[in-house]
Symmetry: C2
């Protein structure tokens, strides 16, 4: 049980001795509660109160300083005022304590003075090799009987369970503990990690990944500090250890309204990137605490469904329809029963009901009839999970039905979920279900959503690792040189020619082009590029090049190229005699292509991110784009292109020809490599990338780079 | 209290005498429960058990037949088996009973035999002028002490309240009653209307609109039989009586997969049309029972907010952020406090918290501090409603805070909402709030959603009536003639020319065109139409007209038109010597236009509906379309055009010129008139309508009509 850096957090969760530094005997105060909770919830070890002014607290001998304690101390909990915390921490170091929880607030979250205090704390911790949870947190709880540590000022210790909860918000923890107790939800570990000055959610996920007591990891985050680190930790939990990670990330409103200098910049809100990063790592993002726990109990209590086919059993048509409706737009399929099951139901269930899915056992159903339907559905090879709905009719034997479900649920390999609708009449039935770890939901819709989350988890767990291809044919040095020069020159927006150089260095296919200084050169360049070509006057002084006859399209051969050069030079001279003309640009003319946009943006939380979308109105009006955190492999590149709705246009819909999608995918991967090689590139737009028919490739027509 | 047809339903809700026909003395059976519920819940009147085989039931004298009862009977409730219900109903007729509830199932819902039984029932009811609720229902409840009627087999009578609940599903009613009791939600009237063979949700809405005991009307529907009728009734309730109507319409899965012969057909799923119809009528559509009641209590218990600005007060940052996040994408605004309030909060609330919205009174806040924040926010002119969040910290005096909120809530003109997060610790506080009719929500997000629903209702209530313009310049007879002839000929798909005639009759601007039989005619026609024009060979035998040189674009004058005629005829003769050529079509050439789609579809529930969208990929890939149930007025036409996302393209975004949006709006209204005049038009596509710059109008380029 060690984290990525090889440091175990066992000192926090399984201490044999705990010192609470700064405690008092004032009942109801945080410093007292923390000490007293450890005492009354019976730590499997020794707890020492440390308080300069007291001889004893709650009947326990009290020490003036932590260094006075005769035995070794594994864990210290600081509840001193923030201004003097560093002194207590220094003493912890001297005492040889390696794990410290700082409950006290008054650090980074209160501004400059606090930031300085936190830095002081951090320096002392580094000096002595101390790991810190907090400051500004509620503490932690370990329900494992081997430790049984309630080092928090939560009102009560939760029951033992296989769900771990990690929270950046301390206040939310008390509401969560209360909510969970009402629903008989237990926890393995419960941690409020506060300002995460040292131990972060990432360390904790690595620790819980290997914790045999934890099956599901829940996370409440207010800010993502190290997106890539979080993604790696979550991937390890989900794809190596097979443990679901569910997370709430709040703060959608605080959309950092940074000036957007590019398309990608304006489209890639931090929340969309958070969505993309979470999904890539297999984290299931939830919107509310209730949604998170609804899904968590389905994952924690029941086996993972082998496929997406759900059977619904109900004693009332209406709620059955509501549940079936909830599958629309989700990954859940309504199971189609085998003939055998259909015959069984036709024979044994009332004809006035419905024998196909959703099965309606009708209002007068009692436990025996529910049992036929549930066992029949579970035995069906076309069914991967069973959802049972009950409405309280006057003849419904609610508790018997609940007990029956518990019995069936115990020895079954397929998951079972319940929704006993109502509140008062069904309360005792719900109580039975919850105590037996049968997931229960007030609303049938929540039940279906939770089954859907289990199906998502199964897919995430099985997701192949998408190792990025490293293209060896890139010229990193050439790109670096251009970027360094631009940085030296203090440029933020690279000139077009520089942007092209960088893209060419990464073999992103810039349209073949050359500047000709004579008619002869123009003809030669055109022949080299391949016909048809476009000729365009090259001059910074002439803005509207078409208007003055400075552009000739669709030039078909060398003779025409030569003639076009002469025409353009003549027109330019006539229209703007004083203009400095550098020659004529000869470029390949791309016809029959679709325009797509590729983008890159540095995100403060997740680092380099990649965007894809179809050009023009699709991006601007429908924001029909896809994101990934870089680096991406070929699977992600494929997905990115396919998940925009306008993909149909590229794939040959409406009698169109199929475009070269593989070429786009390669460009995305090359862009990803560029993005990870050069974090100094803040934003990059390739707009448009002209995509031709399958096998014919694509071309960068225009690009902007911001550093 | 009369419905649209002038019939009062008072006989159902306020009977002075009730006969339960077919009751028994078997406790726990439906026939007994119905009778006994009326008795034990103390009807303000007389209840007569009617049962051929019994002398007395539950101590009450029992009659063999209803006609044997000596006194007049206002309401009869039939619990006989369906096969003999008609006999009992015949007796009710003879006894002069005008209101009958048929609880029994076994009618339309079980197939042919049941349909016949229901028809028999209906005929008897018509003969005697009897109104019927049901069959196949749970009965009804009126909590008004003037009647106090529990004519249902629900387990218990709900508390009195100002919410009415109407349900097509009987089974759901029991779950709803149970749910509501747990949350101290009372009802004014509670009706399970079953098969609605006579009294429907429409009659009931008209009745409740005038019921002084009802403030909010809730509706659970499985099918909309008469969409326009429902819309009218709901509009009367919302816009005349100022009573919110909230509805769940289930059955999204049963999307009638009718073959779609048109764009409109494939895009206008019955569920999208239901959304549109509900919104037009001011009905707030809900997805779940919980969502409906969450919103209902906000509307039933508190004043309607005068504007959309919400203040959030919390003792924990995290949940405050979650609540603020929930305003994103809703109609709710986060209130900005006045300077006065800001000063007050800065002075009186802890600096470590947050003094702007969401206000964080921090974890150690007690009732007095909450009071400062709540009263301060309520007094602020920039605040229209206050949402209070509480998390249970060890020092939180939960009940005192709840009581304080109740006190403030009583004498305030602005609404107040609460979310005490958790379950066990906050239970007594929640109980206090619920008993005092302060809306409470487990989740802050649901609290914000419910405030949003109140804001929506305020807008719906104030919505101006959108009376359709009746265009007098249409030639209804001409259109009728074309449609009649097509019907006689057994056509389902009208020929292009016929479709054009119908559109022209309704002054929908078909592109000016004429068929020329000679070069001279072509020149004349072109001059009349106005240049530039397009010439196209008119022949059913030539499909790919462009390929054989049968089309000439951009013809600029008479001479060119004449020449183009000759060229086309020569090309046609050369390419297809045997083709029957009817001449050359001369049509106005439209340039610089955007293509939009107008559509019409008959919906089985809502009748004629109108669709609008931008042409091509916008409709096909993004389904970026808007719907309305016809007839529509100018306000709806305006909204329809503006609510598609691609509207930006028409409105002059991206440096484009603004298109003639007013012309589109007129077309939509003319189409609406056509749709209501001729219900035999099943589907109609105008695709594309070419829209030119502002003031330049639009033209129908192609149209299809299916009858």
């Amino acid at each position: 049980m060690t984290n990525a850096a090889g440091n175990s957090l066992d000192g926090f969760f399984y201490p044999k001795s705990v010192a609470v530094i700064g405690t008092t005997d004032v009942e109801g105060s945080v410093p007292f509660d923390i000490f007293y909770n450890i005492l009354k919830d019976r730590l499997n070890g020794i707890v020492y109160p440390v308080s300069p002014g007291k001889k004893h607290i709650a009947g326990v001998k009290t020490y003036k300083y932590v260094v006075d304690i005769e035995e070794p101390v594994d864990l210290a909990i600081l509840v001193f005022p923030s201004a003097v915390c560093h002194m207590a921490l220094e003493q912890c170091g001297k005492k040889g304590i390696k794990s410290v929880i700082i409950i006290s607030a008054g650090f980074r979250e209160v501004g400059q003075a606090g930031i300085e205090r936190e830095a002081k704390i951090k320096a002392i911790a580094q000096k002595y090799g101390i790991r810190i949870i907090g400051p500004n947190c509620l503490g932690l709880i370990n329900t494992d009987p081997e430790s049984h540590l309630n080092a928090s000022f939560a009102r009560k210790m939760p029951a033992e369970g296989n769900i771990a909860f990690l929270s950046q918000s301390g206040a939310l923890c008390t509401a969560v503990l209360d909510y969970a107790q009402g629903k008989h939800i237990g926890f393995s570990k419960f941690v409020s990690f506060g300002n995460k000055t040292d131990v972060s959610e990432i360390d904790l996920i690595y620790y819980l990944k290997d914790d045999p007591k934890t099956k599901v990891i829940l996370l409440y985050l207010e800010e993502v500090t190290d997106g890539p680190g979080l993604m790696k930790a979550a991937e390890a939990a989900v794809r190596e250890a097979g443990k679901p990670v569910l997370a709430i990330k709040s703060g959608r409103t605080s959309a950092g309204a940074a000036a957007a200098a590019s398309h990608t910049g304006s489209l890639a809100g931090s929340d969309e990137i958070c969505d993309a990063g979470f999904e890539q790592a297999g984290i299931i993002r939830c919107n509310t605490i209730e949604e998170m726990f609804n899904r968590a109990i389905a994952l924690a209590y029941q086996p993972v469904p082998k496929n997406d086919r759900l059977a619904i059993i109900t004693n009332a048509g209406g709620p059955g329809v509501l549940a079936a409706d909830a599958t629309v737009g989700s990954n859940v399929e309504l199971a189609r029963f085998t003939e055998k099951t259909q015959e069984l139901f036709w024979k044994k269930l009332p004809r006035a009901g419905n024998q196909s899915n959703p099965v309606d056992v009708i209002g007068d159903a009692r436990a025996d009839r529910y049992e036929i339907a549930i066992e029949g559905a579970l035995a069906d090879d076309n069914v991967d999970g069973v959802a049972v709905i009950l409405t309280p009719q006057s003849m419904t034997d609610i508790d018997d039905i609940a007990l029956n479900i518990c019995k069936v649920g115990e020895h079954n390999e397929k998951p079972i979920y319940t929704s006993f609708m109502g509140e008062m009449d069904v309360a005792s039935g719900i109580d039975i279900l919850e105590r037996h770890k049968i997931p229960h939901y007030i609303l049938p819709e929540d039940m279906v959503d939770s089954f859907a989350a289990c199906c998502t988890f199964r897919k995430e767990m099985a997701h192949k690792l998408d190792a990025p291809v490293v293209f060896k044919d890139v010229d990193k040095a050439a790109a670096e040189k251009v970027l360094d020069e631009a940085a030296k020159a203090g440029r933020h927006h690279l000139p077009e020619a520089d942007a092209e150089k960088i893209l060419e260095a990464y073999r992103l296919p810039v349209i073949p082009r050359a500047v000709a200084k004579s008619a002869e050169e123009a003809a030669k360049a055109a022949a080299k590029i391949g016909f048809p070509v476009v000729l365009k006057v090259e001059s910074d002084d002439i803005v509207h090049k078409s208007d003055i006859g400075g552009v000739v399209l669709n030039v078909a051969d060398e003779k025409a190229a030569s003639a076009a050069y002469e025409t353009i030079m003549k027109n330019a001279k006539k229209a703007k005699p004083d203009a400095k003309v550098d020659g004529v640009l000869v470029a390949k003319m791309i016809t029959g292509a679709d325009e797509v946009i590729l983008g890159l943006k540095q995100d403060t939380s997740f680092g380099p991110t990649i965007m894809f979308g179809l050009g023009g109105t699709f991006v601007e009006i429908f924001k029909d784009v896809s994101f990934r955190v870089a680096p991406i492999g070929s699977i992600s590149a494929k997905e990115m292109v396919r998940e925009v709705r306008a993909y149909k246009l590229l794939s040959g819909a409406r009698g169109r020809t199929r475009r070269d999608v593989a070429a786009i995918e390669e460009c995305l991967q090359r862009l990803s490599q560029l993005a990870t090689d050069f974090p100094q590139i803040k934003e990059l737009d390739i707009n448009p990338l002209m995509v031709q028919d399958e096998g014919k490739g694509c071309h960068v027509a225009d690009a902007r780079i911001m550093i």
